[in-house]
């Protein structure tokens, strides 16, 4: 090698290295082009398939709360155990661990079989630690009712694990409460570890009710006391805010605990809205209100009550006590059948009587959100006859639900507006954004302020000096009307003296009502007059609940 040649040698080597490197990069570039450009779609599909995983996105059912925010229904997470039959290696060991003979469920054609659902957390942890082949776990939601049987007829019932509403508001609001379901896609790495969590699986909407748990508990306690004292076949109490139509409490007896796995379904019926009955004398105020509104009578108008026996057409009517001439106020206060029948059948007449029944909302649903609501029974004009003219003013030949009765009495209490009772106050999504807020809904204005004031004075007189004295509360003016309805004997299809419905419907404080309520007790044992059985219950509820009304 000469000295002239030596400077060329590194240059040549460098050229070779650079050439080789250039070729390598060229090859790499060609490969990259093949992957990134010409084969892009195919490789992208492979990548997506490898990096995709699925998660169960079943969101929990929404909460139900009362107006104070107290929880009425909540879905809590529970662990459930399932089998993948083809993956089970040691059936006997699995049976022993689970405490269930799984051998019968190992059909290899099945990919999935539930074994135990809703097991306690400690049992789930114990089973997980055993790492049994073919045994899997899934988080589900079980519906719980922390208040137990309190307001159970309103709240209703959802099937714990399947998460669908069966009864009450759980059924009526099912579409709102139910969580979003389905599978969500996640990005995973080669070891199937999640690199993202899908935006989904949201819980259902939360629903706030108008029920006030403090008042609800008072009503339930007082109803329990009445049931213990009189042993009725059923009893119902409804409390509404007459200013808005908001339902504050609904209690039924018999009742049930929605947390119990097995209950008598006959106890589940929300009688307050689904079971119409003849209202008896509690219907008299509506007849009188109609006559007052039409200026046909005044509270001082005197009506001859025929000394307790009145023949009208082919019908003979009786009063419990013989009265001569009574004022309209006294007819209501003393609950004269003959006086009420005369105002209804003679003063108003059948057509106007029916018009006022319709105006007060009888014969139509109140539209409260509770399911299976009955419209009650109001005879059509074609069915209406001269007997009906005298029966309806006494609360016979007409049937009403307790909710209808309270809604109608609320119209007298609030100055003449028939309001639609409502129990759903607010709905908000799982993130707290408001979806719905209830507003009082006026169905129609039916009475003038003057008529309402006159009716208020008449109904206060019922409690002061009339049949409802045992509803009186010290320091509070209570207005209302008693009812003692004879029941029809199914065997003879005639009214019997053996079975009665005792009731009281009223409001308080009379001068500025914030509570309108009814208590209805079916077939009380011993005493049976509404003034003796239902009125004291109303008085106690008013006394205890009034301080808690907002």
């Amino acid at each position: 090698m000469t000295e002239e040649q030596s400077p060329d040698r590194p240059t040549r080597r460098a050229a070779i290295v650079m050439g080789a490197t250039g070729l390598a990069f060229l090859g790499l570039g060609a490969r990259l082009f093949g992957i990134q450009v010409s084969g892009h779609d195919g490789w992208r599909g492979v990548r997506d398939a490898q990096a995709r995983g699925y998660v169960d996105l079943r969101g929990p059912r929404g909460h139900l709360r009362d107006a104070r925010g107290e929880l009425l229904a909540v879905s809590v997470p529970v662990q459930s155990v399932y089998l993948v039959p083809r993956n089970v290696e040691h059936p006997d060991a699995v049976s022993l661990a689970l405490g269930v003979d799984v051998r019968a469920r190992l059909d290899p054609s099945r990919q999935f079989a539930w074994i135990k659902r809703g097991i306690p957390d400690d049992e789930a942890a114990r089973l997980r630690a055993m790492k049994l082949a073919g045994v899997g776990f899934r988080t589900e939601y079980a519906r719980r009712y922390p208040q137990g049987r309190v307001a159970s007829h309103v709240v209703g019932l959802a099937n714990g694990m399947e998460d669908d509403g069966h009864e009450g508001l759980e059924a009526a609001l099912d579409d709102v409460l139910v969580g979003r379901r389905g599978r969500g896609t996640v990005t995973v790495d080669g070891l199937r570890r999640k690199l993202s969590w899908p935006d989904g699986g949201q819980g259902g909407a939360d629903v706030e009710l108008t029920l006030d748990l403090v008042i609800q508990r008072i009503v339930e306690e007082e109803l329990d006391a009445a049931v213990a004292q009189y042993g009725p076949t059923w009893a119902v109490a409804v409390v509404v805010d007459p200013r808005t139509g908001a339902v504050l409490a609904v209690a039924n007896r018999p009742t049930f605990d929605p947390n119990a796995r097995v209950t008598d379904v006959r106890t589940h019926q929300n009688l307050a809205v689904s079971s119409p009955y003849e209202p008896g004398s509690t219907w008299k105020p509506f007849v009188v209100a109609g006559a007052l509104e039409e200026n046909l009578v005044t509270p001082q108008t005197r009506i001859d009550c025929e000394n307790g026996l009145w023949r009208h057409g082919s019908r003979i009517l009786h009063d419990h006590h013989p009265y001569g001439s009574l004022t309209v106020t006294d007819i209501v206060a003393k609950s004269s059948n003959i006086g009420a029948a005369k105002i209804g059948a003679v003063t108003l007449g059948g057509k106007r009587l029916r018009k006022w029944a319709v105006a007060f909302g009888f014969g139509e649903k109140t539209q409260v959100e509770m399911p299976l609501e009955s419209r009650g029974e109001l005879k059509t004009p074609a069915q209406w006859n001269s007997f009906t003219d005298t029966s309806v003013p006494m609360g016979h030949e007409i049937s009403t639900t307790v909710m209808q009765l309270v809604a109608a009495m609320s119209a007298i209490a609030n100055g003449g507006k028939l309001l639609a009772p409502y129990v759903v106050k607010r709905v908000s999504d799982a993130r707290g954004a408001e979806l719905f807020a209830a507003k009082p809904q006026v169905v129609r204005e039916i009475l003038s302020a003057r008529t309402c004031e006159q009716m208020r004075d008449i109904l206060v007189e019922v409690v002061k000096t009339g049949t409802g004295q045992r509803a009186a509360v010290e320091g509070v003016a209570v207005a209302g009307k008693t009812g003692t309805t004879q029941k029809v004997d199914p065997a003879t299809r005639r009214y019997t003296h053996e079975k009665h419905i005792s009731s009281f419907v009223g409001f308080a404080p009379a001068e500025k009502p914030t509570l309108c309520l009814a208590v209805v007790i079916d077939e009380p044992q011993g005493e049976y007059y509404g003034g003796a059985v239902a009125a004291p219950v109303v008085g106690r509820i008013v006394r205890r609940a009034l301080p808690h009304v907002k």
Partner: protein, 80 residues
Amino acid sequence: MKAVRGLLVVVLLLELALIVVFLEARQTRLRYALAKKQESVRAITLENRTLLHDVARARRPEELAKRASEFGLTLKEERK
């Protein structure tokens, strides 16, 4: 000199590639951490539901009366 300059360019490209790889790795680490946090949030949300239920049960008047009696206290009977 040309060869040195070429090598310098290669080194720079490699450094850039390393930076890109480092950033990608960092992003991936953050995604793992985020996924873990999201799962934790989900677990806490679920636990919160159970606690809400337990609190609601514990706040019931009969439960409070029971606890009070355990401490030797008696509640005033409102009904009487």
